[in-house]
C-alpha cells in the first residue's frame, strides 16, 4: 500500500496581525530532528514554535534504519513503542561476495532489552508519529506549517526571524533559534558558515518496491549486503525490509552511468527484475544520490544552535544520519531547558563539544565504510578483494569487511561533564528488565542515581535514587557494587564506590555546568 500523504493544516499565525510575545525557542524545520527537539523541550516544560516551509511528512522513505538507542530516546519522547510496533525488527546482517555468503553478524545476541538492535520504519511514519505526539503537547508546542523562515538576526540576547506564509510575511523573536532544516540548511548558508568534508564521486540508486512476498530466504528480515552481486556486476547492493511489504534496494552505480537518467522507470525496472526475477512488484519511490561527509566547525553560534543534518552529514551506510541527529536532540534538550531556567549558558558549550565528538565519530565510520565499498585505486580494490577472499575462511578478515559500521550510541567518556574513569562513565545506559517494566522507561529524563548495592545512598536535592534489581542481567551490565549518576539524556556521568553525598553533589554540579 502506498502511504497516504495527507497535508497538515495551515493556520494563519498570530504574528500576521499583532506582535507576538518573545518565544523561548524557535525551531526551524519539522523533520524528525526538529519535531523530536520540540517534544523533548516540551517534556522539560519549555515552549517552542516549530516553523516548516512545507506541510507534508517526508516524501519517500529516506531514513529507514532506527537504532536501539534512538528507540530508547523515542521511548522517553513517547513514540518508541508505536515505532517498534509498526517497524520491521531486525538484528542480523548478512554479507555476500558474488553469490556466496561470506558471514553474518548479530547486533543484539542477548535478551533483556525493551528495544531490538534495529527497526526499519519509513521516515514518513516517524514524522507522522512525531507530529501527532507534538499535537498532544500543544500547550508547549506551536506547530506552524507553510511558515518559511527567510531571514534571521542574532541580537545577542535573542534572535529575530522573518517568516513568509501564504497570507504574507511576519516577524517573531525567540530566546534561542534551533536550525533543524536538514543537509541543505538555509540558516547555515545565510550565516556563510564553512561546511567542509569529503564528497564521494559514486552515485547510488535507492529504490523502494512493494513485493507480494519476501525475497529473504530466512523467516526474520535481515540486512543483506553484496559486494559484486551476480545481479549487479562489479558494484555493491543492499537490501532491507520496511513495513507494508516495501523493500529498500540500494545499488551502487558504476562510474560510466549517467545519474540524470537512472531514476527513471525505464532504467530501474530491468535492475529490479535482475534481483527478484519475474515476481510482480510496484515501484514506490526512487532517488539517485551522492554521498558527502561534512560538519560545521561549531554547532553553537551564540543564540543559534544547529542539530541533525544542518550541523553534520554522513554517508548512509551505518545508519548514522538520523540516529546521530536524534542523539543531538537528546543531548541538547535538557541542557537548553536548564539554561532557559537559569543555568549558565556555557552548559551549551558541552553540547557543542559532545556532539561534535559524536559527529566526528559518525563521519569517520561512514567515510571508512564508503571508502571500502568504493575503492578509488587499483591497490585499494586489490586489498578490498583480498580481504573478501580471506574472509571466506579466516574470521579476522571478516571483521575488516566494512559494509557500514552500524550506529552505536556515542561514548562521552573524557568529556568535561563526566567525572571519573569507570568504564561505563560516558556511556549511554544499558537497558535492564526492572520487574515492572524496563530501565529505559524509568530512568531517563532527569538526573538519577542508579544504585547497584544496598548501601545507604543519600542524594542531594533534585536527584532521585533508582535501585537496580538484583538479577544476573544487572550483574552482567552494571556489576554488583556502587552507584551510577545518570544524566537526563541517559548517559552515565559518574560512578561511586561508596555513599558520599558530597561527591555526588560535586559530580552533579559538574554535569550541570555549575562548576568547571
Amino acid at each position: 500500500m502506498a502511504y497516504d500523504y495527507a497535508p497538515f493544516p495551515y493556520v494563519a499565525p498570530p504574528g500576521l496581525t499583532a506582535p507576538e510575545p518573545r518565544h523561548p525557542v524557535a525551531i526551524v524545520g519539522a523533520g524528525p530532528i526538529g519535531l523530536a527537539m520540540a517534544i523533548d523541550l516540551a517534556q522539560h516544560s519549555i515552549k517552542s514554535v516549530v516553523l516548516d516551509d512545507n506541510n507534508v511528512v517526508s516524501v519517500g522513505s529516506r531514513a529507514i534504519c532506527w537504532a536501539k538507542r534512538t528507540l530508547e530516546i523515542f521511548d522517553r519522547l513517547g513514540v518508541g513503542t508505536r515505532m517498534r510496533d509498526k517497524g520491521v525488527t531486525w538484528k542480523v546482517g548478512r554479507l555476500f561476495h558474488g553469490a556466496d555468503e561470506v558471514y553474518s553478524f548479530d547486533l543484539l545476541p542477548e535478551d533483556g532489552h525493551k528495544y531490538p538492535a534495529f527497526i526499519n520504519l519509513q521516515q514518513y511514519y516517524v514524522e507522522q508519529y512525531l507530529v501527532e505526539r507534538a499535537q498532544d503537547l500543544s500547550d508547549h508546542i506551536d506547530l506552524r506549517f507553510l511558515n518559511k523562515v527567510t531571514d534571521h538576526t542574532d541580537h545577542g540576547d535573542h534572535v529575530r526571524l522573518s517568516i513568509e506564509t501564504p497570507d504574507g510575511p511576519y516577524e517573531i523573536e525567540a530566546d534561542y533559534y534551533i536550525a533543524a532544516e536538514g543537509a541543505g540548511s538555509p540558516t547555515r548558508k545565510r550565516m556563510s558558515l564553512p561546511f567542509e568534508g569529503q564528497t564521494f564521486e559514486e552515485h547510488f540508486l535507492i529504490v523502494d518496491v512493494e513485493l507480494p512476498h519476501s525475497p529473504f530466504e530466512t523467516d526474520d528480515p535481515e540486512r543483506w549486503f553484496w559486494f559484486a552481486p551476480p545481479f549487479h556486476a562489479g558494484q555493491s547492493a543492499l537490501l532491507h525490509k520496511q513495513p507494508d511489504n516495501i523493500y529498500r534496494i540500494d545499488l551502487q552505480l558504476g562510474p560510466d552511468t549517467d545519474p540524470s537518467t537512472e531514476a527513471t522507470e525505464e532504467k530501474v525496472i530491468p535492475r529490479i527484475k535482475a534481483i527478484i526475477g519475474d515476481t510482480p512488484f510496484r515501484l514506490d519511490w526512487m532517488s539517485v544520490y551522492k554521498f558527502r561527509c561534512a560538519k560545521l566547525d561549531r554547532f553553537v553560534h551564540n543564540r543559534v544552535l544547529f542539530v541533525g543534518d544542518s550541523a553534520h552529514v554522513v554517508s548512509p551506510f551505518g545508519a548514522r544520519g538520523g540516529n546521530g541527529g536524534i542523539q543531538d536532540v537528546d543531548n541538547l534538550g535538557w541542557k537548553l531547558a536548564a539554561v532557559l531556567n537559569g543555568a549558565p549558558a556555557t552548559l551549551l558549550d558541552s553540547y557543542d563539544d559532545e556532539r561534535r565528538h559524536g559527529a566526528q565519530e559518525n563521519i569517520l565510520n561512514s567515510a571508512r565504510a564508503t571508502n571500502f565499498m568504493t575503492p578509488k585505486t587499483e591497490i585499494e580494490a586489490l586489498f578490498r578483494n583480498e580481504t573478501l577472499a580471506l574472509a571466506a575462511k579466516h574470521p579476522f578478515a571478516r571483521k575488516l569487511i566494512n559494509s557500514g559500521r552500524l550506529s552505536q550510541p556515542c561514548s562521552l567518556a573524557n568529556q568535561p561533564l563526566q567525572t571519573g574513569t569507570h568504564p561505563l562513565v560516558g556511556r549511554a545506559l544499558i537497558d535492564l528488565p526492572m520487574g515492572n517494566g524496563w530501565l529505559v522507561e524509568q530512568a531517563q529524563g532527569r538526573f538519577r542515581l542508579l544504585t547497584v548495592d544496598a548501601q545507604d545512598w543519600q542524594t542531594p536535592d533534585g536527584i532521585d535514587t533508582l535501585p537496580l534489581p538484583n538479577t544476573p542481567e544487572r550483574t552482567q551490565r552494571y556489576g554488583d557494587t556502587g552507584a551510577f549518576l545518570l544524566r537526563p539524556d541517559g548517559h552515565i556521568c559518574a560512578f561511586f564506590e561508596t555513599p558520599d553525598a558530597k561527591a555526588i553533589a560535586t559530580a552533579h554540579a559538574r554535569a550541570t555546568g555549575a562548576t568547571p
Partner: protein, 65 residues
C-alpha cells in the same frame, strides 16, 4: 626509525620462502598474494600502533624517489 634484525640465522630461509611463494605467479597474482600476506601479518602482529609505525617507515623509503 632503525629496525634491528630479529630473524637471526634463519633470515635467508625466510627470504627464500618469500621469493619461492611467488614462483609461477603473474604480476597481478603476486600483488594479490602480497596483499593477502600483509593482511595476515597485520592481524598476526595484533598491534595496530606498531603496524602504523612500520607502515610509516616503509612509506618513508618510497617518498624519497
Amino acid at each position: 626509525m632503525i629496525l634491528q634484525d630479529t630473524l637471526g640465522p634463519e633470515g635467508d630461509d625466510a627470504y627464500a620462502a618469500l621469493i619461492a611463494a611467488h614462483e609461477g605467479l603473474s604480476t597481478a597474482q603476486s600483488h594479490a598474494l602480497n596483499a593477502r600476506l600483509i593482511l595476515i601479518l597485520m592481524n598476526e602482529m595484533g598491534d595496530p600502533d606498531r603496524f602504523t609505525q612500520l607502515l610509516t617507515e616503509a612509506r618513508a623509503l618510497s617518498s624519497s624517489d
